[in-house]
Symmetry: C2
DNA sequence: ATCTACATACTTGTATGGCAGTGCGCAAGT
DNA sequence: ACTTGCGCACTGCCATACAAGTATGTAGAT
């Protein structure tokens, strides 16, 4: 049976919105459910390989099965849920190959982004980035979810600076996979290391060194590979396709 | 009012499947509708900014509103459709910024892919690529849709060779945007130029030159930028966000 | 002539019922 | 003890009905 306990903040992109886990009766149900269920899956409140039936979820939120179903279908497209017809609906395990390939995509794209930005760094951008670094350093070690939000904002800023406002949307499905991993480590993330890498990246941008900025960004985005084996060993049941770890 | 005329082949990924525009009563309706409607939008059988009501589509295919609705929701997530509650459902215009940003993403990713492949080219891969080039050269000038299929297969092969089987899935939404543009030009695509670029890429891979392969791939994927202005001038009503053409 | 109010014909959103496929347990036969 | 067959509870899929918001055209009042 599904359990339901309230956590105020979850995920990076949706941190700023309040009432993450409650339905606002004034708004349409289906999009709200999509966000709620996505958040619950990412933070493993809904366990990988767990079964979630349309009926149960409908009862839980006091809505009919239809909006639940529509929400689940979108989650299928995002690779978070698997619907086996006439059999059941299940939370997908974290597909390791998707995580690795998604990371590859993100590295390629963000490397090009930071290179483009470093070609002609603007003064206002540099001021913004420096301020963000300051805020990241001030972020307390315990509040990992707050840091995730700042990190997300940092990378998003770079994409915007490159004039690629829509790129972040394209990368959303890849980030989802990585976020599921990131949420396991969560509190013990090497915050200091990541901030230092951010600083290196900003330095490279400021000195207008596209090539160096690119390598710095690539190194930064490979950091998740370091924690992966440990996470995988600790939560083997959460993962799928583990044999694809040769890359 | 919506019109419905049968075209056997549309889109690149789905070319091999027969009966693209007919419903198979044995399979589930909703996924079939998703593919059909997506194909009809990409090839502009359903015109940009045109209205498509759930009821009409349901009558057209002799199914109820529900599966139609589910298909449309997935198309919303793919950026092909816009649902305005209580107002109507419309085919989205081709968002120029999404096209450009999607192309940027694809260039970044495929550049890294081809570089990785060129580091250690295998003999069997080279044989495969050479055979594909041969098939491309044999492709008649008229059958542009067949060439699109071959082109798609070519790029997919490289991704697989890099061990990135899931990357293509991540790129699907970006490709959708580009395909809508590509389908306008369609018959007059510079097939010979593209094949020559493919040959250059394969040569670079064979000589194990990652850097040169990367630049060749980048040049290849910038080809669409050349035709964009003309297409845009000829079908201005199909496009949106045209002022973003400074990039 | 102009503006307002309302009836009406749309649209999408949600709820509900029936259908068909699936898996599991239990019971009967081997 | 093992296998086989049936029944039942469960699932998601689809059709239908109802609800609620929106645009539009028209009749009436000003």
């Amino acid at each position: 049976m599904l359990r339901f306990y309230v956590i105020k903040q979850v995920g990076a992109r949706t941190l700023t919105q309040a009432n993450q886990w409650q339905l606002d009766p004034l708004l349409a149900v289906s999009p709200q459910l999509r966000r709620i269920l996505r958040a619950r899956i990412i933070c493993h409140d809904l366990k990988p390989a767990g079964s979630i039936s349309e009926t149960d979820l409908g009862k839980m939120y006091n809505v009919s099965r239809q909006p639940v179903r529509e929400a689940l279908i979108t989650l299928v497209n995002e690779g978070l849920v698997e619907i086996r017809p006439q059999r059941g609906t299940f939370v997908k395990r974290i597909d390791l190959e998707s995580v690795l390939n998604g990371r590859f995509v993100r590295e390629a794209v963000e490397a090009d982004i930071v290179a483009k930005v470093a070609k002609r760094p603007s003064a206002t951008l540099m001021a913004d980035l420096r301020a963000q670094l300051k805020a990241q350093r001030l972020c307390k070690k315990g509040s990992a979810n707050h840091f995730i939000e700042l990190d997300e904002h940092f990378h998003h800023t770079l994409a915007d600076a490159a004039g690629m406002h829509k790129v972040w949307d394209f990368l959303e499905s890849t980030k989802l996979q990585m976020d599921r991993v990131r949420f396991i480590t969560f509190e013990e993330f090497p915050t200091q290391t990541l901030i230092q890498q951010h600083e290196v990246i900003v330095d490279c941008i400021e000195s207008a060194s596209p090539a160096r900025a690119q390598t710095a960004m690539r190194k930064h985005l490979r950091e998740i590979l370091a924690v992966l084996p440990e996470v995988l060993a600790r939560y083997p049941d959460y993962f799928d396709n583990v044999e694809a770890m040769q890359s």
